[in-house]
Symmetry: C2
Subunit: 519 residues, 2 copies
């Protein structure tokens, strides 16, 4: 059956008012049946995609992946085209229009992967391996299934990008296959945006969104990436923290001095950097920079309600991480990441332990990543941090200070800011949020968790800032997927659940949504 015929049938069903015939439970059951009958085939398609090297710095590799993805989209009846801006690896766009649908969503995924160090892999990063459980559980290599053979949910497929993020693409396209096989039509128009530069920092994402603004127009974006909740439950995540990085250098004498002969006289950069950091942040994460919290939006009632029903994970995490206590008197992780953080990611001055020497160093370095929440802006945070450092008596410079500068200012701080970006947070009580959660819950064994934000950062704010659309992150990967590291893997149970999730979502979302907005 072709897609067009399926769409016609779906359209007819809609017209006939037989909405109840397309329940989430039916969609999920259809997805399961299709998957169970085609596990070997699905894994062959997945392996073929994973075998294509995909480090974003290799534009030719990215192009080969893109061409392959366009063919995969077209097999599902979607249109497909390349998105390109100068000097960037390409991205891929695809679209399936659903007759009668009044809403359009974009399913975002990325097909580039983190760089690999093959020596650290068991096997090779671009030669997918199936194992009967995780390596850390003693998993053994097993052959891929042949047609008709079934798999176990705890098996895992090992390869670069298995979980981050080619698995999402396989799951969503397999859901379309299952829907087609069961004559189920999407209830929303679906656009696909497969980015080819995410792991390299999405440096051209804004340019692509601006260039293809009308092509990418949608009511909402789903950012299909990342792991499920630490409890193992599916989660819809409504926000990401923003981030801005800072490299800080303070200065002592222009040559290293004997700490006996000059200690107590020459400024000590190790003491200076410690005192400066201590002036900025206490042991419990409270940032002492005046104005830092100015633009922090209070936690909303909907967010508070969502936090209250999240499964408890903190105690388990503390035990697993050897922590007797976490910051702010064991305050809940999910709530702590709703406020901004000033993280010390490194300090380096002189030597310690076997490299210690009785020396007053010439300079001290500290590195920070500052995590932002709505509606903090990177430029405001930069401004208040600089004012704070200046208020500690420092003259601020951007480059290595020259001798005239050093002779003039008692305390000098060099500040090198990384390009940052703001947080993203979709409303948890908006129409889209309600429709999304209802669509994900319909027919599922458990409703998804609604999580106000991840602690990590990503360019999700761009979809909202450039295109005006809300974005929600919808992950499927197992929590222990070795993301970004060697031996990245995806648990098959997570992939299969993802297929059912997308089928239920696509069948139900438009109905939940348009039912409210377009009566």
């Amino acid at each position: 059956m072709t897609m067009i015929r399926a769409s016609i049938i779906a359209g007819l069903a809609l017209i006939a008012g037989t909405v109840e015939a397309q329940s989430g439970g039916e969609a999920r059951a259809a997805a399961r049946r299709h998957r169970e009958a085609n596990e070997a085939k699905i894994l062959r398609e997945f392996s073929t995609l994973l075998a294509m090297p995909n480090v974003a710095s290799n534009h030719a590799d990215i192009r080969r992946n893109a061409d392959h993805l366009m063919a995969m989209l077209r097999q599902r009846g979607a249109t497909a085209q390349i998105l390109e801006v100068p000097d960037a690896p390409v991205s891929v766009f695809g679209e399936i229009r659903a007759p009668g649908a009044t809403r359009t969503i974009v399913l975002y995924a990325h097909f580039d992967g983190q760089p690999v160090d093959p020596r650290q892999w068991q096997g090779a990063p671009f030669t997918p391996v199936l194992r009967d459980k995780a390596l850390f559980q003693g998993g053994k290599d097993i052959p891929f299934p042949t047609d008709g053979q079934r798999t176990e949910r705890d098996w895992r497929i090992y390869a670069r990008s298995a979980s981050d993020d080619k698995g999402s693409i396989i799951a969503m396209l397999t859901a379309l296959d299952a829907m087609r096989a069961a004559n189920l039509s999407p209830s929303v128009n679906v656009k696909f945006f497969f980015e080819g530069e995410e792991e390299a920092g999405s440096g051209h994402l804004q340019a692509i969104l601006e260039k293809y603004r009308s092509l990418l127009a949608a009511d909402a974006w789903l950012f299909c990436d990342g792991p499920v909740h630490q409890s193992g439950r599916l989660q819809a995540v409504f926000g990401l923290r923003g981030v801005v990085g800072l490299e800080l250098t303070v200065y002592g004498p222009t040559r290293p001095l004997h700490s006996g002969h000059y200690g107590n006289w020459a400024p000590n950069p190790g003491a200076l950097i410690a005192n400066l950091i201590a002036s900025m942040r206490d042991d419990d994460g409270r940032v002492k920079v005046a104005g830092f919290y100015d633009d922090v939006r209070p936690i909303s009632a909907a967010e508070r309600a969502a936090l209250r029903v999240l499964p408890p994970v903190d105690s388990t995490l503390r035990v697993g991480l050897g922590l007797a206590r976490t910051e702010a008197d064991n305050a809940m992780l999910a709530e702590r990441i709703m406020v901004p953080a000033l993280n010390v990611r490194g300090i380096r001055v002189g030597g310690v332990q076997e490299t210690g020497a009785n020396v007053i160093s010439t300079e001290a370095f500290a590195s920070f990543d500052i995590r932002l929440v709505p509606v903090q802006r990177p430029d405001h945070v930069r401004d208040v941090v600089e004012k704070h450092i200046a208020a500690q008596g420092y003259h601020i410079v951007r480059d290595v200070p020259d001798s005239a500068t050093r002779a003039r200012y008692p305390k000098i701080a060099r500040l090198e800011w990384e390009a940052g970006y703001p947080a993203q947070r979709a409303a948890m009580d908006g129409e889209f949020a309600k429709a999304l959660l209802a669509a994900l819950a319909d027919g599922a064994a458990q409703p998804p968790l609604a999580v106000p934000t991840l602690g990590g950062s990503g360019p999700g704010y761009l979809f909202t800032e450039v295109l005006g659309a809300p974005v929600v992150t919808l992950p499927l990967a197992n929590f222990d997927n070795n993301q970004h590291a060697a031996n990245e893997n995806l648990r098959l149970g997570n992939l299969w659940d993802g297929v059912e999730m997308y089928a239920g979502l696509l069948v139900r979302l438009g109905k939940e949504w348009s039912g409210r907005v377009v009566p």
Copy 2:
């Protein structure tokens, strides 16, 4: 003329009351005449000694040096013997008795040198090279002089231990030669203690002093090592700071965490170590540890008087070191080292600059050297620092904490203390101090500077604690001698001035001293 005949003549002169015949000026003039007539020969003896490798870890090399030094001592009519304790490189003892002398001093020098990295040397560390000026001034290799040829004061001899500290030995033995040639006798009994393990930390010095207590009995020790004052003037230094080293480790989660996902929740070791250091010391060197200053002896009137007449060097040092301001509002270096210091010699956690990563680290390291002044004791300082760290909420451990400890204590600090030792400070208004300064001044173009203390540390306290004798440091090396580094060197003008200093000292000391104490 033999030493015995010279001593008899000197003894007769003393009996005849012809003290004025042995003025410091005459002694210095005699030293100068002798040296000018023998520069080539003196440099040959120096080069032969410098050509003998002398890293303390090579006990056989140290023994060869010691045998050679004993022969050099015996050539001057001194007795000579090996001093040895188990498992240590040997040291050398020598003695010249002065008829009629009522006082005995020990001239301390060391003949071992710092380890060498030949790749960093211009030339080779144990192949002495003569240069027409310092390498950093563009100095060129020149041939060593032949008999009768003269040298220039700015020439330098390059080799390991040229300045630290074989030059002192050559200067004192050459002074004896010059005195013998001029029929001048020492006015004090002179013992020589040439240590073979100083640059390796003098780990066996206390054992040697205790074993040879009676052999080493003396009224005072002169520690002949180090560079002259930054102003270029000769200095007698009455003290050294003590020292105790500390390696501090604080802990975060047992595995590195993503600073986005866990920042603001997991304890951040970089922030912890910064806050802990900041609690211990401010930017101006003030130590905030309760009880730290308890045992600091006030600066004495004599020390204050000495500080007042020191040549100003601070402004020049600040300019040379690119410092617009030094700690405690540009307080004088010589006075700042009269108080104890808590020096941060290193901090290490996570990564900075190109090694920066968005990670909350598992631990943070800091390294300190704490400089002590009289009458602070290392054990008391350790005690108050540990009490301070405990008062910041830390559970103190000595080894890497096990999982039960980590699960129990919210904050854990691992403290590893290095063996320390107290300060040494000789009275500046005692009889020995007065005699020493008078002897060094008599006939000299300028009187020596009397410096209350060096900022650095050394085992000088042992001479006082084990043997009950005051010790004063009497350096001769040029300030820019590349001590401990590659291309160590001694300026010939400093060596020649040292010969005259020792001649004047040995001829005058007993007379200045016995004249006061033994009327």
